[in-house]
């Protein structure tokens, strides 16, 4: 299996632990990752103010991937949703495709519609297979009791993404259980982290983060597992502010799924950059 890795902006900017662990684990699973020869922002951050700008940014990335002849996988669900959305729009709407191609020709590119885009967690479930992941587990995390946060864009909008039921997400749960860990259910698992509006009003994610982490803690989970850099930044970075607002300690470590899987595959916490997390999962790591 070979994919083009689309890194996006926020991961190289400030979520290195995610990239380090994802590259290690996917490599170890035998999934070859080729870096984009060149790329740009997927377009998600500015779609709110310009649909057309999003279209052009995403289209350029798709064209570059087509030239490599490889499907894209992303670590960020926002990138996956935006690139997939644009890919579908351009494949299905000939008029739009012609307009966009006219502009792309100015920079020597053409959209042909030859590749697909997926988030890596979806690729693991649909293309690699949960059973095959179980085969690679050498150190089942039987004493780990965690909860999942799937995030919005891997399955929403439902009609566009055609993946799982976004109200009742199960893919990440299956991936977590494959490591031997217990994944607890809690109320309203599908609630958004509020990340995309943090730049407009920080109180929104602070409120949402406190809300969700209280429920996560309430059922007895020792960590929250994420598959999105923004969700991770919210639940980890905003947690102290949420604690202050709630007037109580939460101290829930927020762990990237590849870090969890890597532990189960026998890798060391350092190799998986677990030491780079702000809320140290010290107690959890003692259970290995």
């Amino acid at each position: 299996m070979k994919y083009l890795l689309f890194l996006g902006c926020v991961i190289p900017y400030r979520v290195q632990s995610y990239e380090i662990s994802a590259r290690k684990v996917l490599g170890e699973l035998g999934i070859e990752l080729v870096d984009m020869p060149t790329y740009n922002c997927c377009g998600f951050p500015i779609e709110a103010i310009s649909y057309e700008a999003r279209l052009m940014l995403a289209a350029r990335n798709l064209c570059i991937a087509e030239e490599q002849g490889l499907d894209i996988i992303t670590l960020c669900p926002g990138c996956a949703e935006t690139l997939h959305h644009t890919n579908v729009e351009l494949k299905e709407d000939e008029e739009l495709r012609n307009t966009v191609n006219e502009r792309l020709s100015e920079v020597g590119l053409e959209f042909k519609g030859k590749i697909n885009v997926k988030h890596f967690a979806r690729m693991l479930v649909e293309d690699f297979g949960v059973e095959k992941i179980k085969d690679r587990v050498v150190r089942p995390l039987e004493k780990f009791v965690v909860a999942q946060h799937t995030g919005c864009h891997i399955a929403r909008p439902k009609k566009l993404m055609q993946f799982e039921d976004p109200e009742n997400p199960t893919a990440l749960k299956k991936l977590i259980e494959a490591t031997g860990a217990t994944c607890l259910s809690y109320e309203d698992e599908a609630q958004c982290c509020g990340g995309p509006v943090s730049g407009i009003d920080r109180e929104i994610p602070i409120q949402l983060v406190g809300d969700k982490l209280k429920r996560v803690k309430g059922v007895g989970a020792q960590a929250l597992i994420t598959i999105c850099p923004y969700c991770h930044l919210m639940y980890e970075g905003m947690q102290p502010l949420a604690e202050r607002k709630l007037g109580e300690k939460l101290r829930i470590p927020v762990i990237h799924y590849p870090q969890l899987l890597g532990l189960a595959m026998g890798m060391s916490p350092e190799e998986l950059a677990l030491n780079m997390l702000k809320i140290k999962p010290t107690q959890l790591l003692e259970k290995i």
Partner: protein, 134 residues
Amino acid sequence: MDEREASTVVMAKNTGRSGLAVEKLRQILSEDSSIWRCSICFTCLDVCPRDAEFTEFMIALRNLAALQGIVPTVYREQGSAILETGLAFKIPESRVKMRERYGLPPLPRVDAEPVRRLLESVDFDKLIQRGEKK
């Protein structure tokens, strides 16, 4: 009446009302409107029993506000960063250098020039500049 006011009035007229409608539209397209509080999570779009695709309206209304020069700071900053560097955040040189220490391959090349040209083809640069004048 400036360009922004004029287009709001035209839109209001097209809705068949004036007065209240103009005021309402002005509010909806302003910087402190609740349209900017939507996190584009698509929850409402997915649960709507009539397939009204409400999130798309939120995006369209913000696009409309931006065309009238209303661009909240966070979008202006990210928009300028993309025009300048191709990415939504300016990644400090120190971060790029740290990659080697972490055993990460170099960051793929980002060619800002073609990105900027593509964005200029849809007048995104003007959108950001107009937002700055405020």
